[in-house]
Each structure stands twice: as structure tokens, then as C-alpha cells.
Amino acid sequence: MYQYDTFDHQLLADRVAEFSDQVDRRLSGALTEDQFRPLRLMNGLYLEMHAYMLRVAIPYGVLSSRQLRGLAAVARTWDKGYGHFTTRQNIQFNWPRLTDVPQILQALADVEMHAIQTSGACIRNVTIDPFAGVAGDEIADPRPWAEIIRQWSTLHPEFAFLPRKFKIAISGAIEDRAAVRFHDIGLRVIRNDAGDLGFRVWVGGGLGRTPRVARELREFLPAAQILGYLEAALRVYNLHGRRDNKYKARIKILVDEIGIEAYRDQVEAEWHAAGGPTLEVPEAEIARVADFFAAPDYANLPDATVELARWRAADSGFDAWATHNILTHRAPGYAAVTISLKPVGGIPGDITADQMEAVADLADRYSLGELRATKEQNLVLPNVRQDQLHALWSALRSLDLETANKGRITDIISCPGQDYCSLANARSIPVAQEISRRFADRRRLDTLGPITLNVSGCINACGHHHVGNIGLLGVDKRGAEAYQLVLGGDAGEADASVAQITGRAMTAEEAVDAVEVAAAVYLDRRQDAETFIQTFRRIGVTPFKEAIDAAR
């Protein structure tokens, strides 16, 4: 994992001092709210319905046990004893006091954490595959590049007041687990024929009011040239992105309006004028950063096939958990374990301070001190010995964190919705909880197989419903909560698609029933071992629409 050097620490110290000063000046009235708002947003501090909300960055989702304990301490000391993992690999606290935020930032800085640029019209947290460094299908580890981009984008003076937020994602594996085509810039790591490392660059993807699949900006960019290229891409966006309408200010709209060719021409021209291919991250720095992400000293182990079979046979609970929550590791004898934060009837992504501390201990004991936060709002222990899986599972059980539903229909991704967010049109958590209860049965989960289900409380789509195999969108129907069901979204690079509307908005009860109907249609119509999304792609939305209408 990346370790701060004196420079990194100094920057955070300066930042904490700066924001503390800004808070003082706001409290004294020297700064008006209009002046303070963009400053606090650049520090991830929202003013929400009930209280302030602080969004703490978990850079590219990688977290040490020490940092997780630090987050637990923040939750306990300055909040209400819990935190919420987000769909962008960050964590949110819902109840901090403005007057405490300087101290919170100091406590975070002590464990090399911060809230810089987790909001505002600037470059946000770079997100990646949560199994980076351990996945069997990895081409190259995206983490060093995420760290290099993180530093370059932090307090970048030219891009502090972009037309709108800017989100970057990186995928380093064959399967895209970072949704690169739904970001402002998506990078997929590739090697050219000569074996050189580079990126395929996607631009103009996004969700919200105008979901878009990204277009290819560049087929191959040598990896070391990434910062110069990003700077050109951002500069063109900064100068030409729309600023007249908040809902048309993302780069996807610019690319729509001028066309990908024109945008590419401008980026390439700007990049070349600045030095083009001569602008490279020094090899020494690439090597320095990559070093932090070198594979740990894995023990020389065989796969624990026999033990696993024995444990599975002895305990159906363990069997289910091993089936769903374990990912094959590139190191033999190891596994990457997903800790689902979606217990039956629970709030997706929420975790108590006590659980955070316990999970930190588990990370130390079973995962070489490292964790990941995923955009599905779960946690991952990336380095677990297979021969310790049963012990880990038992420990998770005692914490009510053994829910065996990773990637299944009850692994629901949900924004906080109207219970917390002033932008929302409807509540999302209660709907997620009801779906979670309806589909809790283990056999049912198995039968339905992999399904992504996303709930957004409004069209801003923070729940990513556009890319859910099943998505629910909260709308306002004459002052009442209502939900639109969408089907057929897919976030992966290869089959990137936006979900389709199935009909008019429904009550929460009707919406949950409609999800049941959709599941039934799938089971009825699937062929061979088709997953939900494969069946959907084959038969289209009409059979689902008809069944849902008929059921109403």
C-alpha cells in the first residue's frame, strides 16, 4: 500500500490548516456561505437535510487496517457511531459538526486520510477494480497509476473550478470491474504488440440525467504519458465545457455537442503543443510508486481444496458464503473475500464503528492488514489464506457480517436517498430493505444467480441504477414517492449498456412486486446457464414489460 512520505504529509498538514482557517472565517462571518460553499465542497463537506455530511476519500478504494480503525474513531468520537461506504469507494459520515471538522481532518491526516476533492467541480477520487493486484485475470495493476493520478490531481491549480465534477476510473483486468465506460475518463490498461504498457482512453461516459457510454478517445497511450494527456483533456474541457446549465456541464455533453473527433483533435493539438510524448512521468517515480504495490510475501501454499470441500459439506452456511463471496486469487492457496455490507433488511453500505474495528482486526489477522472498499458498497479482504477461510467466516458470523450474497440480487447498491439527501425525490433505503427481505432465501439467491440491483433516489443516479441489471429510480409523483423500474443495464466495458424503462412509476410496494415479476420472467425464459442479463439481452425488454403490466 502507498505510504506517505514527508511531502505527502506536509500537503495534508497544509490542507488541514487551510480548511481550519476557512471554517474559522465562516463561523466568524468573514466568509459568506456563498463563498464558503465551494470551499467546503472541495473538502467533501455537504450541508444535507439533517446535518453536515463529510465524504472521506479512500483513494482507489485501498485501505489499511490502521486507517479503518481511524475511520471507526471518527464515527465514534464525532458522529453517531457508524459510517456509510459509497458507490465511489469513499466513506460518508452523516452527522459531523462543522465546528468539529478541523479536528476530524486532523485525525484523518494522522492516518494518511483526507476529504480533499470528494465533492465540488474538480477531479474526484479515482476508482478502480477492488481486486486490483490479486485478481487472476489482471493484465497490470492499476493501483500505481491511480496513486500517480491522485497526486497529480490533488489541488491542481488549473482544475479547481471545472464546469462540473470529473470522475476517472481505471481497469487493469480482462473483466472490467471499474465501469470504465461510465466515467468522464475511463482508462483500461492494455499492452501493445511490443508488450509496452499503455491505456485505452475512454471519454464522456456517465450516468445522471443523460446517461452515456464513453467513446474512445485514444486507442493506445503509453502509460508514462498519462498525466500530460489528462492535462490536455482536462484543459479542453475546462475551456469549452458548458457553464450555462448545471445539468449540461459534464464532459459527456461537450463530446456530444462537438463530436468525439473534434474533441480528440483539440486534445491532441493541446497535448502536442504542451510537449506531447515528451511529457512523461519519470520512470523513477513510476518505479517508486509501483514498489508500494508489489505483491506481498505470499506463503507457498497449495489450494486448500480438501479442507474447503470438507467445510462446505459440513456447513451449508459456509458453503453458500464460499460460493458467493470468494474470488479466485492469482496466488495459489489464497482468496479474495468480500465482506457483504448488505445483511437481510439492512442499509446497504452501512457499518458500525464496532464492526469497523473488528473488521480491521480481521484484516490484520487474515489479510496482511489490507482491505478494499468496493463501488458495490462492500469491503474486500484481498489476501486471505484459503486454509483460514473457515476461521474467517466464523469470525464474520459473530459480527453479523457473513451475508453470503456478493453479486446476487440482494447485494443491493443504493444511494442514501431521501432519508438523508436533500436532492432525492424518494427514499431508497426502505425499498432496498424490502427487496433484501423478499429475496433473502438462500436457495432463491442461488437460483437467480448473478444479478446487479441498483436503487437511486433521484435522477442524479448516485445509486447507479442506469447500469443495474435491475434498477429502481425514485421519482416524485405529485408529491408522493414513486419508483420507475429499469432493466438491462451493464456496467462492464465489453457490454456497456444503459438500462431501459419498463413502464410508468409505481409505489414502493408495486416496485418490489415488479422486481419479483422480473425475476420470475427470467427464470421462466432462461436457456441453459444464462444469467439474468444474458436472458434480457436475448429476449429484450418487452416480455418483462408485459409481465409487469399484467401483474398490476
Binding site: E33, L47, Y52, R427, P430, A480, E481
Partner: protein
């Protein structure tokens, strides 16, 4: 005639406040009821307290003084879901 209350966020901690006879209260039962014109004036006056409150606005309420809109009721009573429910009740 529409009745309204005036609400804002306390600058120091972001907590929900209601315009009350003596300034601001966190308890909705203390909230003053206004006509829309009176509420608008109260909202304008709140601009004069920038180090105390932020984001003041008027909310339509029923005869009991409770907000009509679901969103506003959630703001008054808090999230409808337990803050840290991790286990099925």
C-alpha cells in the same frame, strides 16, 4: 390560507432549526406559524444571521403545524431508517 413554518440549518452543526418565538428551536412544536408573506419576511431576516443559521426557507404545513411534503417531514423527524441497523429486526 396556506400556513407555513420557517426552517434553516444551524451553521455550527447543520442541525435542523425552526423559527420560534425566541429565535430558533430544534423542536418543531416551538415553530411559529406564518402566512406566506410573513414567512418570506422571516426568511429574509434570517439572512441577517449568517453566523447562526444557513439556508432558511419556508415550508407548507397542515393545521397541526406539520409539513405536508414527505421530504420535509423526514427533515423534521429524522431518517425513517435506523441509523445503524445492520441486522434484521
Amino acid at each position: 390560507m396556506t400556513k407555513q413554518i420557517v426552517t434553516a440549518s444551524r451553521l455550527a452543526d447543520g442541525r435542523v432549526l425552526f423559527r420560534a418565538p425566541e429565535g430558533w428551536s430544534t423542536d418543531i412544536r416551538d415553530a411559529l406559524m406564518f402566512t406566506p408573506d410573513e414567512a418570506a419576511a422571516a426568511v429574509a431576516r434570517a439572512q441577517g444571521e449568517p453566523t447562526r443559521v444557513v439556508g432558511a426557507y419556508a415550508v407548507d404545513v397542515d393545521d397541526a403545524g406539520l409539513p405536508l411534503l414527505g421530504r420535509e417531514r423526514i427533515r423534521v423527524f429524522g431518517p425513517t431508517v435506523a441509523p445503524y441497523s445492520q441486522v434484521e429486526a
